[in-house]
Symmetry: C2
Subunit: 313 residues, 2 copies
Amino acid sequence: MIPTKQEVEEACERVKPYVHNTPVLKSSYLNELSCAEIFFKCENFQKMGAFKMRGATNAILQLSEAQKKAGVVTHSSGNFAQALSLAAKNLGVKAYIVMPENAPQVKKEAVKGYGGIITESESTPIARETEAERIQKETGATFIHPSNDRNVILGNATSAAELLQSYPDLDYVFAPVGGGGLIAGTSLSVKYFGNNCKTIGGEPFEVDDAFRSLKTGKIEFNETTNTIADGLKTFLGDVNFPIIQELVSEIIRVEETEIISAMKLIWERMKIIIEPSCAVPFAALLREKERFKNKKVGIILSGGNVDLKNLPF
Amino acid sequence: MIPTKQEVEEACERVKPYVHNTPVLKSSYLNELSCAEIFFKCENFQKMGAFKMRGATNAILQLSEAQKKAGVVTHSSGNFAQALSLAAKNLGVKAYIVMPENAPQVKKEAVKGYGGIITESESTPIARETEAERIQKETGATFIHPSNDRNVILGNATSAAELLQSYPDLDYVFAPVGGGGLIAGTSLSVKYFGNNCKTIGGEPFEVDDAFRSLKTGKIEFNETTNTIADGLKTFLGDVNFPIIQELVSEIIRVEETEIISAMKLIWERMKIIIEPSCAVPFAALLREKERFKNKKVGIILSGGNVDLKNLPF
């Protein structure tokens, strides 16, 4: 059930020509502040600005030639819509993207810019799924889920794999928890390439479905989604949840104010742009910093796609 | 008169243990947009967030032990105040900083944070100089000018030296022109380590004193300073002007709207934070992009200290 070490290694080789081996940055100021030694894996510098480029690329590369010819389809209003569009374009494949009609114009244009073919739907999950199914039937395109897909998870694993290749003696790797695709992939690489290393998830209190799912042993949902971390509003799926249950040590929850302050610290001190979701694992580390004192901690900075007109500070 | 190659090489060795060899970033999107191949030398990732750390460090390291004991003094409300404070702190030297009483509180606190000893003065140039002279007399501290000092210029030269060490076949290196210390240092390294490479300055139309100085052959001033590039409001000095006259090929002027749009492009596409002054040379390249088609262009990204509460977009 759980993907093997060989599968992760093959994914690394497969996506290598199509994604950046993103830099790892350090900050002596943030080390001092957190009392830990932090290694920031900068997926905000990834192509299209987020780690999702890795999963999308790996998933498309696993299709048969006939499948590639028919194209791929997904529903997303966020980074995965852009990632699938760009990954498909790079591989000469058509990408059909179902976006809610009320999605911001800037996001629609980003998808178009990467060559994605947009179909608008009502914004309910059912309407989006129905529309994606219709496109599948009409075009023969393969549906690729943004986070609950084995090949997407394997592609996402390549970020932590690169990080641990450069820094094999990390004690912890932190990643944000949204739909579960990144944390599941991260935990695979930590298991296979780490040395007594543990995977920790960061999640907003406002959308703590994954935290609760680990407690109850079944996939939980969020009744409200009042968080600034707009990439983390989704819930886990049946493909990634078993991996998370087995391999993620813990999920630490953080307050909205902690997310904003962690984001501001990274902007001001590291001079790099990260999106709010991306600040969540660093906020989690700061919240519980006594426990990680003098440890070597990797943090996956998941993405940098923010609306500069709408900053929280 | 013009510093020698050996002096620049010695400065590189001297500052090496105290400054970051900052990364060089590339962006395929910005290459496509500009039709050139751009190598961004990221001094926004330098200690305290700007190239000025290099000049300040080199200047202090050139002092005698007796001079170090008495400390250093400068007048600045910008990055050099922070740079001299931090460089002095790293070397166990006292730094007296004269700041205008109306300087933003956030800048005063940054200087204090780096251990600088602040004296407030009225905001006129004469009041600041008088105050700095008084401190010199009372403490025996050595005055270090932010841009018109041979050792500061030599320290600043180390950024372009590193850039050309990694990419020796650049056709051009662009840098912003403010007080002249960075462009003078850059032009020295381009002369000594470049291969048929030229130095180009970027300057806002609103404060085009250096552009006019090169035309008239004498140091010109600005009657008004209505530019967003707040690091470029100052004028050249008798130490850097002769270097600039001899070694800078050209200064390209840009409009305020071009600066803001170049800054936004770098933030959005490269996910890094740069200050407005820092966007000026990239704006200059874009303005004249036909002339630099298919060329290899280095750009010194001078710094990343911005007030996040006061962004132009």
